[in-house]
């Protein structure tokens, strides 16, 4: 027996010692007890009757209870016991809260009555079958009670159930529950008495009203009381009883605008003002208490010390001080200020004038090639048959036939639509130039080979046309030239030549490079380039078999000539310029300066006011005769020498052929309006010819009626692009 324990339990009856571990068997017993009660819950009262041990214990407990009351008369004590019972019930309920259990102990059916009423009976109530429940037989006396108190370690947690008369040893949980209740806490450990508050009225705007109560009538009826008050105030103001508050004028100028009287001229002077660059704001390194990562490690510090002053990242070492008070004065302060001032003073600050120009804007607005159709785009036909490079081609005015002259010594006539070679004329020499008579009522072809110009009648047209061309050729018969010994001799084709269609031969003193017809088809010009002689150009009149040299002086190597399509002008292209002669007045009217080194070819616009020249230095120059003697436009699209240029008779198209194997077709609209410049748009690069012997496309000409282009190349083919 431990006296101390008794004392403790007596003096602090309400304090349960939780550290005290119950003995194992006691626990078991308690478990049994609990399980008993559980059983009883589930299996009705059968057990309670048969469980004599329990009954006994309860009985003894009961007895003890009664004695207790007598002995200690601790009102708290007895209350406490009562309370225990109550708790045990509650607890039972709580334990089996998942099963619906009546609060009352079902082993005894007497109900919630004072048990004193059964003090004098041998039983304490009735079970469900109506049988008496007898009091436990064994009755504890005071001594037993005391011994029990002294020896039973669970005595402090044993409670007496009055209704059954049994003693119940409370489990730890039950004790804990009792403790909590005594402390005024909730029985359930998990119950949170401080739930987060849900505000009924909150600052949030809600979709639905808190209450759907209609607004009060008073909320929309003007308040009579307020009206009365307002009318009283109005009356008072009217009567002068109330005076408005005096406005405090701020004329003394507590605040004033510093810049109101600023002279605008001063501002204008500083329009180009550049603000001084700002010192960067201090960072964490400058802090008196920088984060540890900003502090230098040993290596960093060593590095910093090694570095040159100008190479250092900071001019100081980040340092840590426990308080701002301990930061020493910055030794380099004066120095730093001075450097800053020096920077501001010496730094050249001027605004860079930058012009932002979009490169796209610099390109002139040209229409899209798609909108400028029709123009030739694809290769359609290839005319094969020549064995040498085809130097020159020409299309008949009807557009049905194509004539070509080649280095293989033949002139071929092709049907345009089928690429069929209809006729081959062997002329016995490299053909430099062919030109179809532009007059549709005759069918003649001029061919330049070596020093001879041949006039061919291919007889590919209507009989009447053929006969009229025969007439044209034979018309001179009657007037035989008087001056027989000119530089040029005319002769007729004979024998086999006649069968081939060679009607006339014009023998020149030198090699003829080019022939060109006048639009009427009677005059023919031939070119014999020569540096040293003035005999470079001849103009022949076919119908009268007359030739004349229009020029008395050598003005340079003549490259090509052309007649004006409508007016009596004659274009002569020398190496660097184009001279325009008036054939009627016998004088030069204009001299066009092509900004190129060596003109190779020239074409006159069917309107007659524009000339395009190609040159061996890859350039194409367009002259507007009404505008200037300088080129209106230079086109440098070709990579190599330009060999041929051509205008279309009807469509606003012109083309250039080059040694780089390409033909470039350009759209060139000219306007009748003198103020409007021609519109020149490159629209298509046509490729197809194979470059052989460094020569590409040698000649180019347009179909007279369709937007088609023929090109002849050094690969012995002629190609039609449509």
């Amino acid at each position: 027996m431990e006296f101390g324990a008794v004392f403790r339990s007596l003096t602090f009856p309400q304090i349960f010692n939780f550290n005290k571990k119950p003995a194992e068997e006691e626990e078991e017993e308690e478990d049994e007890d609990l399980s008993d009660s559980e059983d009883s819950v589930f299996s009705g009262l059968e057990d309670s009757g048969s469980d004599s041990e329990d009954e006994e214990e309860e009985g003894s407990n009961d007895k003890e209870d009664g004695d207790d009351e007598g002995l200690k008369t601790g009102p708290e004590e007895s209350e406490q016991v009562e309370f225990y019972v109550c708790v045990s019930r509650v607890f039972r309920v709580q334990l089996f809260s998942d099963v619906v259990v009546p609060v009352q102990d079902i082993r005894n059916t007497v109900g919630n009555i004072p048990m004193e009423w059964y003090r004098d009976f041998p039983h304490i109530g009735y079970d469900l079958d109506g049988k008496k429940i007898y009091k436990p037989i064994r009755n504890k006396d005071e001594l037993d009670e005391f011994l029990d108190k002294m020896e039973n370690p669970d005595y402090w947690r044993t409670v007496h159930d009055k209704q059954t008369g049994s003693d119940i040893v409370l489990s730890d949980e039950q004790v804990e529950l009792v403790n909590r209740l005594q402390r005024g806490q909730f029985g359930d450990v998990n119950f949170n008495e401080y739930q987060p508050q849900v505000e009924f009225f909150s600052g949030d705007l809600m979709v639905h009203p808190v209450s759907n109560r209609p607004a009060d009538k008073r909320s929309f009826i003007p308040s009579l009381i307020e009206k009365e008050k307002v009318s009283k105030l109005v009356h008072a103001i009217k009567m002068g009883w109330i005076k408005p508050r005096r406005q405090d004028d701020d004329s003394r100028g507590r605040y004033y605008d510093l810049w109101t009287n600023e002279d605008s001229s001063i501002l204008a002077k500083h329009r180009m003002h550049l603000p001084a660059p700002k010192i960067p704001l201090p960072g964490h390194h400058e802090s008196y208490n920088p984060p540890p990562e900003y502090l230098f490690t040993d290596e960093e510090r060593a590095l910093w010390e090694q570095q040159d002053l100008s190479d250092r990242k900071f001019p100081f070492v980040p340092q840590r001080f426990s308080s701002l008070r301990q930061v020493p004065a910055f030794p380099r302060f004066i120095h730093e200020r001075f450097e800053r001032c020096l920077d501001l003073y010496l730094c050249p600050r001027q605004r860079k004038m930058r012009v932002n120009v979009n490169p796209e804007d610099l390109i002139p607005k040209l229409p899209k090639p798609k909108d400028l159709q029709p123009f030739p785009t694809t290769q359609s036909l290839v005319y094969r048959g020549h064995s040498g490079l085809v130097r020159s081609i020409s299309v008949s005015p009807s557009g049905q036939w194509l004539a070509s002259g080649s280095d293989d010594g033949s002139v071929r006539f092709w049907e345009v639509r089928s690429s069929r070679c209809m006729k081959t004329v062997q002329v016995g020499g490299a053909v430099r130039s062919v030109a179809w008579n532009p007059n549709p009522s005759v069918c003649l072809l001029a061919v330049a080979l070596d020093s001879v110009v041949l006039i061919l009648s291919p007889s590919l047209a209507d009989r009447q046309v053929v006969s009229s061309s025969e007439r044209l050729l034979s018309g001179q018969q009657e007037e035989e030239p008087a001056e027989g010994v000119g530089p040029v001799t005319w002769s007729e084709g004979e024998g086999e030549e006649l069968n081939q269609g060679i009607r006339l031969k014009i023998q020149h003193p030198k090699a003829v490079h080019q022939v060109a017809w006048h639009a009427k088809g009677d005059y023919l010009a031939s070119v014999m380039p020569d540096h040293s002689s003035h005999l470079q150009v001849f103009i022949h009149q076919v119908s009268r078999r007359r030739s004349q040299n229009p020029f008395r002086k050598n003005k340079g190597l003549v490259q090509c000539v052309s007649f004006h399509p409508v007016r009596p002008y004659f274009f002569v292209a020398t190496q660097r310029s184009v001279r325009i002669y008036n054939l009627v007045k016998q004088e030069m009217t204009k001299k066009l300066q092509a900004n190129s080194k060596w003109i190779s070819s020239m074409a006159v616009h069917p309107g007659g006011d524009h000339v395009v020249c190609g040159s061996y230095d890859c350039r194409l120059s367009w002259f507007d005769l009404d505008l200037s003697t300088k080129p209106y436009k230079m086109l440098r699209h070709h990579k190599k020498a330009v060999r041929g240029v051509a205008y279309h008779r009807l469509y606003p198209l012109f083309a250039s052929a080059s040694d780089d194997g390409s033909v470039i077709v350009c759209h060139g609209t000219v306007y009748n309006d003198l103020l409007q410049n021609p519109l020149i748009v490159p629209v298509k690069v046509l490729r197809g010819h194979v470059i052989t012997h460094d020569l590409g496309v040698l000649d180019v000409t347009f179909h007279p009626t369709q937007p088609w282009i023929f090109s002849s190349g050094s690969d012995a083919t002629i190609r039609l692009f449509t």
Binding site: S398, A461, D462
Partner: protein, 423 residues
């Protein structure tokens, strides 16, 4: 892969399947669909043998996968797709190759005989089996076009148009195999590029480089029309006497601004001509007036008219074959263009018994068989020629012919589906 609801139907009674929607994968192609139909037919009829089918979705041949086709055609994939199927048209089989001495400019064939014009200044008559029967020589220049006028019994009338500006009307006796120039039609002042006989066989029309169309009588007579111009050259006189009696045109239709490239008769009162001036003109033969002008943007090389679908097909230099309705009033509406050639289209010909099919020849050496329900790709490419193709023809007996610059005339046997022909 998503699925599509499709319902199959056909006009052909032999291959009818149940009219219920099927769910087929959207990526299905012609072969897959064909397999589906074959499976269905086998299920219905055990004796069914496999047939290749072609499929039409809203009147367009299926050439890609079903989903891509419907996407490009803008057909909703939500609804049940109606898919028509027809027996696949078998490829034309090459039959004969007839060698000429020179380029072949034109061909006209009927059930028995083939007439070709050549650049060697002659026309030739061949049997369908490929036997050279007759050479018709007489022109002084390239023969540009040929046409049968009439074939009754043993004597036939035929026309040859030439670059020498004349059209010759020949009479050919097939039994004695004799050909005789009956008339020399003079009047054109340019190469006569095209000639066409009217449906009754009593008149013909010629188109020339001189921009004129001339209508002539095709009935041979025994007296010559008087020639206005005095025959100043005895040489020419001789030639005229050699080549039959001179004939002058009944009517001259002028209106084209450029060379006439092709002419045909829509019916006995209506004439249609294509020209290099980018127009197709429809003429009234009775009055000699122009009825309609169809304006294109490129030179027309050839036209063909199908009375079955009443459409005009034109081949032009921009590689497209265009279909026109010659009866439109405004006359500038292209119904459809068939695009696959890479060169000028030099010849087109409608199928005589099928309203959707036509054949075309081009300078890209290809002859193509088209179905107008598949305008992006032809049904078949016939790549027999080694050079430019200048002429194609299609006889009612299902023979296709093409000739060109490789001096060869190819014939192809083409068995058009009998069931499809009436569709």
């Amino acid at each position: 892969m998503s699925q599509l609801q499709a319902r199959f139907f056909t006009e052909n009674k032999r291959y009818v399947v149940d009219d219920v929607p099927f769910s087929i994968p959207a990526g299905a192609e012609v072969l897959d669909l064909s397999n589906v139909i074959n499976k269905l037919l086998e299920a219905k009829n055990a004796s069914h043998s496999k047939v290749e089918f072609d499929f039409l979705v809203r009147g367009q041949f299926l050439r890609t996968s079903l989903s891509t086709h419907m996407e490009t055609e803008g057909i909703s994939t939500e609804d049940v797709v109606e898919i028509e199927y027809v027996e696949r048209i078998t490829a034309p089989e090459p039959e004969e190759c007839m060698m000429h001495d020179d380029w072949i400019s034109s061909v006209d064939a009927d059930a028995e005989w083939i007439l070709t014009g050549s650049y060697d200044k002659t026309a030739r008559i061949w049997s369908v089996e490929g036997k050279a029967v007759m050479t018709v020589a007489g022109h002084t220049d390239v023969v540009k076009d040929v046409a049968w006028v009439k074939r009754d019994g043993l004597t036939s009338l035929l026309l040859t148009a030439s670059l020498d500006q004349t059209v010759l009307l020949w009479e050919w006796n097939s039994e004695r195999n004799k050909v005789k120039a009956r008339h020399c039609c003079r009047g054109h002042t340019g190469s006569v590029d095209t000639v066409a006989t009217d449906p009754t066989g009593s008149k013909f029309c010629s188109g020339s480089w001189d921009k004129m169309l001339k209508i002539w009588s095709a009935v041979p007579t025994d007296e010559a029309d008087e020639v206005e111009e005095p025959a100043d050259r005895p040489r020419k006189k001789q030639k005229t006497q050699q080549l039959g009696l001179t004939r002058t045109p009944l009517m001259t239709l002028s209106g084209h601004n450029e060379a006439v490239s092709s002419v045909l008769w829509c019916d006995s009162e209506e004439l249609c001509s294509a020209s290099w001036d980018h127009t197709i003109r429809v003429w009234d033969v009775e009055t000699g007036g122009m009825k309609t002008t169809l304006t294109g943007s490129k030179v027309f090389n050839c036209i063909s008219y199908s009375p079955l679908c009443r459409r005009l097909a034109s081949g032009s230099t921009d590689r497209h074959i265009r279909l026109w309705d010659p009866r439109t009033k405004d006359g500038s509406l292209v119904l459809l263009s068939l695009t696959s050639h890479t060169g000028w289209v030099t010849a087109v010909k409608w199928a005589p018994s099928h309203e959707h099919q036509l054949v075309s020849g081009s300078l890209d050496n290809l002859v193509k068989l088209w179905d107008t329900r598949s305008c992006k790709a032809p049904l078949y490419d016939l790549a027999a020629h080694e050079d430019k193709v200048f002429c194609v023809d299609w006889t009612e007996s299902g023979l296709m012919l093409s000739g060109g610059a490789d001096n060869k005339l190819y014939t192809y046997r083409y068995s058009a589906c009998q069931t499809d022909a009436g569709a």
